[in-house]
Amino acid sequence: MSSTDIERQWTTRLRHRVTGHLPPEKVLPDTQPAYVASWIYVFGVTTMVALSMVILTGFVLAIRGPQWWHTSDVGHYVNSLHLWSVEVFFFAMVIHLWGKFFMAAWRGRRALTWMTGVVTFLTSIAAAFTGYVSQTNFDSQWISTQAKDGINATGAGSIFNVLNLGQMLMWHIVLLPLVAVILTAVHVVMVRVRGVVPPFEDAPPEKP
C-alpha cells in the first residue's frame, strides 16, 4: 500500500479531521481566558452534573420498578432524588441560558452550540412531561387526562398518546434521554472546538 493510499483511507481522513478540530489540548485545556473567572460559567457545569444525577437515579428507578418507588422508604428517597435533580437541572439550565443570551454567545460561528442548547431545552421539557405522566399514581392520571385534550387539539395525539402509559414510559426512559445526552455531548464538544466566546469588546469584527 502506498502512502497516498493510506492518506485516502477513511480512517486516516477521519483521524485528521478529528485531531484537527479537537487536539488533546483543546479537549482538556489547562487554562481558560481571564473572563471565564465568573460564577455565570458555573451554571453550564451545574446543569451537566444535575443531568448525570437524573440519569443515575433514573437507572436505579428502572432497576427496581414502580412498586418499589411507591412503597419503600429507599424507593421514595431515590424517587425524590430523581425529581429534585430535575429541579436543579432546569434551574441551572435557565440561568445558563440567560447568561449565554446576554453574552450573545452564538457569535463567532457558535450557532451550533446555541442551537443544540435550544433543542436540548425543548427535549428536556418533553422528557419532564413524559416523566410526570409515567409516575403511575393519581398525579400522573390527572396530568395525562388534562393534557390529552391539548395534545389531541394539535393533531399530535394520533401518534403521541399521553394516555398510553407504555408509550409515555418508553419516550421517558429511552428516546428522550438518549436525544438529550447526545445533544449535550455535541453541545459541550462544540464549546471545546470553538473555545469560550470572548466579551464584545475583545471579539474580532464579524463579517456581515
Binding site: A34, A37, S38, W39, I40, V42, F43, D73, F91, V94, I95, W98, G99
Partner: protein
C-alpha cells in the same frame, strides 16, 4: 418518618395552592418563588466576584 406530619402541616398539599392573580398574570406562589430565586442567582452570578480572579490576573 417523624418529620413527615410536621412537613405536611407546613406545606399542605391536599387543597388548592395559592395563586398570584395580577391582570393577565396568573402564577402559583411556588412557581413565582422559584422564578424569583433564579433571577436572584443570575444577578448574584454576575455581581459576586469569583474567588481567585485577582490572583489569576496578577499572574498574567
Amino acid at each position: 418518618m417523624v418529620g413527615l406530619p410536621l412537613l405536611a402541616a407546613l406545606f399542605p398539599l391536599d387543597h388548592l395552592g395559592h395563586y398570584i392573580h395580577w391582570g393577565w398574570v396568573y402564577i402559583s406562589y411556588a412557581n413565582a418563588i422559584v422564578v424569583a430565586l433564579m433571577v436572584i442567582c443570575f444577578v448574584a452570578a454576575i455581581w459576586v466576584p469569583f474567588p481567585g480572579r485577582n490572583r489569576r490576573k496578577e499572574s498574567r
